[in-house]
Symmetry: C2
Subunit: 321 residues, 2 copies
């Protein structure tokens, strides 16, 4: 376990992932309540909204209202997601978000063709133009991202060589516009990752770029989320996207246990127990997870909020002495 | 990952774990339906009932009826659980179960005192007497077991030295009655295990007895079940107890996602994907998991039965070709 990082950085995506997928209308006030509670846990970055077409994602129609109503905590970066220029402009217009550009490529040609009717070559060209535009606007381009990095429902398994090639493209785009990326994220968009593919693909990337910081964006759809995170930690990965309570999981009652994003407090619990600093207070975060369940009105996939932390157990035992 | 075993043996405990904890009455016929379905998946051992006081565990009042009604499949061992001589006699009397003795010690003095009003020394003496009696009756004593091997709600964390000491006692008892154990099981009875404690404790046991076969009995109460199993696999552990669909999980609706035993089909999925043979057909087992949900009438914690296997995805992609 010698490669375990001493500390990790967590990008909390629960508010954006969760409120985007929930069917029931959730009031702006309750969204803000969760975001403000998350701000007090020690998290350093929270993705709170997405700027997307309200006709397609009604749950995000109040994105600007949410951004306006939160109480920003110093030291916490609040970010949003956008998929096009209109969304980007909305994010900038709020004046309250940390706005950063990213360079995103998809690992799967089939998925790209299906969703955007584009080839990878066309996607590379468009990402280069986008990065150029960010730089011209003075928006730092800090994140590279590979979607479907471990497999795809339309194309199947993804080779390590392909991921290495896509990262080379991302770094080349960054270089060409004079951007300096903080890290490159590998997103398991369709939950194909396993501890083996995590180790194989990250191993190959590490071999090529030993000093490149990597992030993992994991889903728990098939029950391997935390095991995959652990495999990533064993490979020294020190950045993770996660969602409090596993928000973003399948919301309908008959499938209440079906998870979406890897659960933040379960990840923090794992790290606490294996000696990795997250900067996050687990008990406060578990309270946020229970608040999230209360807000959405149905059980969410997170486990430790139900089972309880071991630190609390140890304290109870010590108190009884 | 060089220590990963080539294959593992799974003891399926779902029927016993699950039907024991469920509140609603479940008919004998439906229990038998699940057991018979599990018999066709490739599992080699299924613990199907417990012989306990029906006043305390009403869900197991029909244990003999269940044993009588199943259709045993050649090559599958059907076992039961008992906690005292009366239960043992009931198991033998069925004439249809594989009856094996085990030597069980608890790692926690506090838990022992609380539950059985016994010291560890008294427990050792009683287990020695019990093992002696099994041998006299011609019942093979094949399994050693340490309960609460990774931590305890009454005593806290458990040291590797303590586990090594208890295994030494178990092996001494086995020697003294001339029994030859197949393996020693480390049970995470109260869900305290983490990948770190798994590696630390198994590492210490391995150092003392490099050739001793170990089993892991894991719970998923705090979301680390599969990550712990993976850590065990990395340490070369090749025997696991598990429960189909995560049966045994907390059954009340408000906590439908709270898991008990580590889920068999999620473990099989992990093994399939990292190249470890389980002998179990994942799709058949996932069908059993869905059957289990139908029988208990509420969602169960298993994930891959909801998310779908990757093999099925690959076949679908190949068929579209």
């Amino acid at each position: 376990m010698t490669d375990l990082p001493k500390s990790i950085f967590i990008l909390e995506e629960g508010p954006r992932e969760g409120f985007q997928i929930e069917k029931g209308p959730i009031s702006t006030a309750r969204k803000v309540e969760l975001i403000d509670a998350l701000s007090d846990t020690g998290l350093k970055q929270i993705q709170i909204v997405s700027f997307v077409d309200p006709r397609r994602v009604p749950g995000m129609a109040d994105a600007e209202d949410v951004v306006r109503a939160i109480t920003p905590r110093p030291g916490v970066a609040y970010t949003g997601l956008w998929l096009n220029e209109r969304g980007f402009e909305r994010a900038v217009a709020t004046g309250r978000l940390t706005v950063r550009g990213s360079i995103t490529l998809g690992a799967s040609d089939a998925f790209l063709k299906r969703n955007q009717n584009r080839t990878i070559a066309e996607q590379i060209a468009s990402q280069r133009a986008l990065a150029q535009r960010y730089v011209e606007l003075g928006v730092p381009v800090t994140r590279g991202s590979v979607m479907a990095a471990f497999g795809c429902n339309y194309e199947g398994d993804v080779s390590a060589a392909k991921i290495v090639g896509l990262i080379a493209e991302i770094l080349d785009i960054a270089d060409s516009v004079g951007a300096r990326l903080d890290h490159v994220s590998l997103a398991d968009t369709m939950a194909w990752a396993t501890p083996r593919s995590i180790k194989t693909i990250i191993g190959a990337v590490r071999e090529r770029w030993p000093d490149l910081d990597l992030a993992l964006h994991l889903h728990d759809t098939r029950g391997l989320g935390i095991a995959n995170a652990y495999a990533g930690l064993e490979m020294g990965v020190a950045r993770f996207d996660a969602a409090v309570a596993g928000l973003g999981g399948c919301p309908f009652a008959g499938n209440a246990g079906a998870a979406g994003n890897v659960c933040t407090e379960d990840l923090v619990f794992l790290c606490d127990e294996i000696g990795i600093d997250t900067g996050v207070d687990l008990e406060s975060l578990m309270a946020c997870a229970r608040l999230a369940e209360d807000i959405v009105g149905h059980p969410l996939p997170g486990s430790v909020m139900k089972g309880g932390s071991l630190r609390a157990m140890r304290e109870r035992i010590a108190a009884k002495g």
